[in-house]
Amino acid sequence: MAFQFTEENLKRIEKARQKYPTSLAAVMDACYIGQEQNGFISDEVVEEIARVLEIPKTDVLGVVTFYTMFHTKKMGKYHIQVCTNVSCMLRGGYEIFDAVKEKLKIDNMEVTSDGKFSLEEVECMGACGGAPMIAVNSDYYENMTKEKVLEILDSLQ
């Protein structure tokens, strides 16, 4: 069945639309809401956003493909983001990235077969004072060590 926003989410999109003089400007908010409801932004989600905001589908697609936080394929329930930019790298960011890779047996931008985890090597997350750091979905974990990261992975159900 084609993707449809829930009533609740339609209201959130309408609220986002009120922030701007054009409905196009609400497209990023709508993409986040679509991604949240569907897990990722499929063609059907793109179509539904275009329909709800009354904008061309290509405008939605252009935005979805430009920004790295919008995913066009299903990611894991826990999306593990490991920063390897300079401040994190200096304090062991790559060791952590490798440890997660080894533990989950997946590479960058892959998903475990049970759909529980996905992994992404990310650019600076603005937490360099707490380097090395990772994020699990929207939550930051700073001052990480290999051991701590593996513990966090174990604790995620």
Partner: protein, 446 residues
């Protein structure tokens, strides 16, 4: 030393605590002034932008049309994506109401009735915190139409958060505006400048989060007070984010003009294992790196750092100890700019790709000293030839890392010699060979 942005007051993020400490008195005062009066005070304070370029804030505000014929907009830049920068987040978390009060004053000064705070998408938790703070201020009548009664004025403004979605380039002010408009974050060609032709073609001012957070204190305590703190030409405090090889990484609010060595050794606790410093990037990864053996006497303000051959940027100080492999660091930096280039202009799109490629060749052990010259050459050809400053941001680290640490980079490459070879078409053709790979013919040996 009094702190302007992050005072040591417990629970300052609670609205009642903020108000009990004098919060919103400055807004009250400013809203009774003419917009031009507010701009004048900020001009005299010499407040400069904290987002990287260090432009004078009052002057920027004065570019907005005095007579309003179209809607005016204020964009507050909280994209904070420059590697090594992590200061604006502290403001969202610890002093959001001062940011909001600053927004009210700035919006009044430029007559903007709609304000967008652009925050990087990864900061979702901080977006939630700031949204809660905004909601509270709406309830108290500090924002929206109710402001008119609360502050007894004709002016009111609405403030919204726009959540980014993972693109460094959206921190650039014109890309930021495109992103707010719901488009891809491509920088725009300037002129026209935002003050004439910004959001949806209307007059717009873009300021960094920390810049705006300074404003209430300037109004409350007067421009003379502010101008007397720190370096005279770049007064006030800065939120210095120290990261990398230091014992106590973190954000330290200190007056401009503080010695770099003071920040690293006294505030950030020095280098683990008492190692020597090889390199410091003083203002976020786009800024020219400094040699560790030349840090003595360098002060952290815009003019002093320019003299020292770098720039203040966002005040993000990245410290690298003597064991750091600078080639690895530069590869990582170049990968970042290549990845983040929006691809609109050829020198940036192609140049960042080339630089990363050459650096990776060196990393794989296949580089020659000619490659180092080539890198500097490519970097110099990007500089100043692009639509936005990301081109420069990509070029500077390469150019200066290699020229300033040539001794170190020579260790990672093979030596090259230039040998003249007879050629039938041209009278002479010069070919370069790596010394290790060839046996020199007897005749060419010196």
């Amino acid at each position: 030393m009094e702190k302007i942005i992050l005072p040591d007051i417990p629970d300052l993020n609670k609205l009642d605590v903020y108000i009990a400490n004098g919060g919103f008195q400055a807004a009250k005062k400013a809203l009774q002034m003419e917009p031009s009066e507010v701009i004048d005070i900020v001009k005299k304070s010499s407040l400069r932008g904290r987002g990287g370029a260090g432009f004078f804030t009052g002057l920027k505000w004065s570019f907005m049309p005095k007579v309003k014929t179209k809607p005016h907009y204020l964009c507050v830049n909280g994209d904070e994506s420059e590697p090594g920068s992590f200061k604006d987040r502290q403001i969202f978390e610890k002093n959001p109401h001062q940011l909001i009060e600053g927004i009210i004053i700035a919006a009044h000064a430029i007559q903007a009735q709609t304000v967008y705070i652009y925050i990087r998408g990864e900061y979702y938790r901080w977006i939630q915190m700031l949204q809660a703070a905004l909601d509270e201020n709406y309830e108290r009548g500090h924002l929206g139409e109710k402001m008119k009664q609360t502050f007894n004025t004709d002016f009111y403004c609405d403030v919204y958060i726009h959540r980014g979605a993972g693109a460094y380039i959206c921190g650039e002010e014109s890309a930021l505006m495109n992103s707010i408009e719901g488009k891809r974050g491509y920088p725009r060609v300037k002129p026209p400048f935002p003050a004439q032709n910004g959001l949806w073609g209307n007059p717009t001012t873009i300021n960094n989060v920390e810049t705006i957070t300074n404003v209430p204190k300037i109004i409350a305590n007067g421009w003379e007070w502010f101008a007397s703190i720190g370096a005279p030409k770049h007064p006030g405090t800065l939120l210095f984010g120290v990261s990398g090889h230091v014992n106590k990484p973190g954000v330290y609010e200190l007056p401009t003009g503080t010695l770099l060595t003071d920040i690293i050794y006294n505030y950030a606790g020095g280098v683990p294992g008492n190692k020597k410093i090889k390199c410091v990037i003083p203002g976020g990864s786009s800024m020219p790196p400094l040699r560790g053996d030349q840090l003595e006497g360098i002060k952290m303000d815009a003019d002093s750092l320019r003299e020292a051959g770098s720039a203040i940027g966002t005040g993000g100080i990245m410290v690298m100890d003597e064991d750091t492999n600078l080639l690895d660091v530069l590869v990582r930096i170049s990968h970042f700019y290549h990845h983040e280039s929006c691809g609109q202009c050829t020198p940036c799109r192609e140049g960042t790709g080339w630089m990363e490629k050459i650096l990776r060749r060196i990393q794989s052990g296949q580089g020659t000293s000619k490659d180092l010259d080539l890198l500097v050459d490519v970097a110099s050809n990007i500089e100043g030839r692009t639509v936005c400053a990301l081109g420069d941001a990509a070029a500077w680290p390469v150019k200066f890392m290699i020229t300033r640490f040539r001794d170190e980079f020579e260790k990672y490459v093979k030596k090259e010699v230039v040998i003249p070879v007879k050629n039938k078409i041209h009278s002479m053709k010069y070919t370069t060979y790596s010394v290790e790979n060839i046996k020199l013919p007897e005749s060419t040996k010196p």
